[in-house]
Assembly symmetry: C2
Homo-oligomer: 336 residues x 2
DNA sequence: GCCCGTTAGCAAAACGATTTGCAGAAGCAG
DNA sequence: CTGCTTCTGCAAATCGTTTTGCTAACGGGC
């Protein structure tokens, strides 16, 4: 019982394959009565056009991919629920409404060779400067758009996720809550989010008239490294009363450090982080973070990719970040 | 600048396309020197075999899908992070290591027509009895396996997620913690997990010698409905001192109901739910739940699907569920 | 010297759709 | 009756691979 093909259907209907094709696509007129007969027969035989054949002819697979090169520990986390998955869920919805399928390319050591399949396009999540994924897909001439701009590559369409603005928002909040000496934990991988965060922090420190206290941390080591470094920072300068963590794993580490040092939060140390994910919400105390409006961002990225595939290059900007103030920074606006 | 094809490469190398194909696949011997030349030229020209053409020839797209028909509110949740996404992340990893890509088919009203693309196979997440998705893919002759058996369809390979056992584990725990009159909130959609949960609950009630107190709830209405029904149950029978919620959204509702009625947890009401997701962890108090070992389950499902595509039908069983006792059921084994 | 097996390579036929060029029929105006 | 358009429908080319015959050359054993 093999799947019926267009020629099976044509034979059954007593017409040529061309006529069948036209009957479905409507690219050329077909006698209504003939079309009806073909339709009925197709339903009865369970005929569905082969997507592979169509893909070969049209050059479109109808599949887009979502890829991240972020270390797994950061991207998906021990809990497997993170930034990436949140975007994935939204992007899948957006893709589906456009009759596309969304493939997940998880961060993976062997992702270089990622590939039995080809995609019509790829959405990259927070690529770094000179990210191998960018090179990989450009070599394959696969259209690429990015969530978070690609450093040094203004030519690649991207949804700007306003990391500078987000950082400023959080730093202002910490300052307004009473912190006067705020340190920053920032990822050392050159992603736009980290680059902008660093710049925004330096601006902020200058405006405040304080010397910047900034540590760049390897994302892969995440929580443990952040814990050690935070401890070191606070021991070196006990006047530190605020911490901005650009990555939520760093924030978890900072929480542990504060606990180890007996620094009560928020009274003796205020903490804020960027992404309002599981870690921020589950932390004790819950962490002040930012609603980045990822579903809308994902939707925009899909649209941007579609435009790009269609030959129109564009740019997009995410919705403005909204502060989610929680206990870690003082007054709580969020009871849970 | 169009992508080079195999015949471009053949022309450049001064051989036939057949030879190029053999040089890559190794299905027939090719003079080492010729092969070297072809390889070098391929690298230089940036040639990559077209997956679409290969798919057409071989009948394999190299893409598998993960689909769920669970209402969106339950499957992905307001937080967009749930059971489904947790499985998706793991399945994507498992697929990648087998050189497959994983497509997400989110629950969607228009999922009937889900489809610009065809897949080599589909993993269904907790399908219901007579699930339209099952029918849909069977009509297209797409191999299907399921996470959670398909009710009345023992012929469909599935990873048994041991829902009866999970239910018994939680009920025993509640009883051991001191609850003597335990009510059950169970989804009304006929998924194996709910069917088995109901059966296990009825067995448990009989063994305890108590009349069963069981409510079947529509998954779609989730939290609100569960809240109302829990309130009604407790008002009708104030002796109820334990609740088993088969779906985490129901548990959230029950928490709210307990709060509304001034029933302190865990002292005057113990609560346990099945899936240890965001809701269970974020709840105040945190909810006792079960570690279902989803990554291993996803891995097994991918393997099962591959077997099935290869013509071998099998069955698999998930790792035994592990209790995660938290504050909602009394003694806490989980400090966060 | 003949036969047979191995090796290297080519031409052509799939795979299943879409699209283009062409042909016959029908309708209408001049 | 001729010339023109419009309507149907078919045959064939195309997309880029893989696979199947087939040929020719070479070498060794008898």
């Amino acid at each position: 019982m093999t799947k019926p093909t267009i020629s099976d259907l044509a034979r059954a209907a007593g017409v040529s394959v061309t006529t069948v094709s036209h009957a479905f696509s409507g690219r050329r007129p077909v006698e209504p009565e003939t079309r009806k007969r073909i339709q009925a027969l197709a339903d009865q035989m369970g005929y569905h056009p082969s997507h592979m054949a169509r893909a070969l002819r049209s050059g479109r697979t109808g599949v887009i991919a979502l890829a991240s090169s972020m270390p797994f520990a950061v991207a998906a986390g021990p809990s497997r629920l993170g930034f990436l998955m949140e975007i994935a869920a939204s992007a899948a919805m957006s893709a589906l409404t456009r009759d596309l399928a969304l493939c997940l390319i998880p961060p993976h050591p062997a992702a270089q060779s990622c590939g039995a399949t080809s995609f019509d396009g790829v959405i990259l999540v927070e690529p770094a400067r000179d990210d191998p994924l960018v090179a990989h897909f450009e070599r394959r001439k696969t259209p690429v758009v990015s969530i978070g701009t690609v450093p040094d590559r203004p030519d690649i369409p991207a949804v700007d996720i306003r990391s500078g603005e987000t950082t400023a928002l959080l730093l202002d909040h910490l300052a307004r809550q009473g912190s006067s000496r705020i340190a920053a934990l920032i990822g050392s991988t050159p992603r736009t989010s980290q680059i902008e965060a660093e710049a925004a922090y330096l601006d902020f420190a200058k405006a405040q008239g304080h010397p910047p206290i900034l540590v760049r941390l390897d994302e892969a080591e995440g929580e443990d490294l952040a814990c050690r470094e935070t401890r070191r920072l606070i021991q070196a300068d006990p006047r530190i009363d605020g911490i901005y963590a650009a990555i939520d794993a760093f924030a978890s580490g900072a929480v542990r450090a504060a606990h180890d040092l007996g620094r009560a939060m928020p009274d003796r140390l205020r903490l804020a982080t960027r992404y309002d994910g599981l870690r921020a919400k589950l932390s004790v105390p819950p962490l002040t973070a930012v609603d980045l409006h990822l579903p809308a961002t994902a939707e925009r990225a899909v649209q941007l990719l579609l435009d790009r595939i269609g030959g129109r290059n564009g740019q997009a900007v995410a919705d403005p970040p909204d502060l989610v103030a929680r206990q870690s920074s003082g007054r709580s606006s969020d009871r849970s």
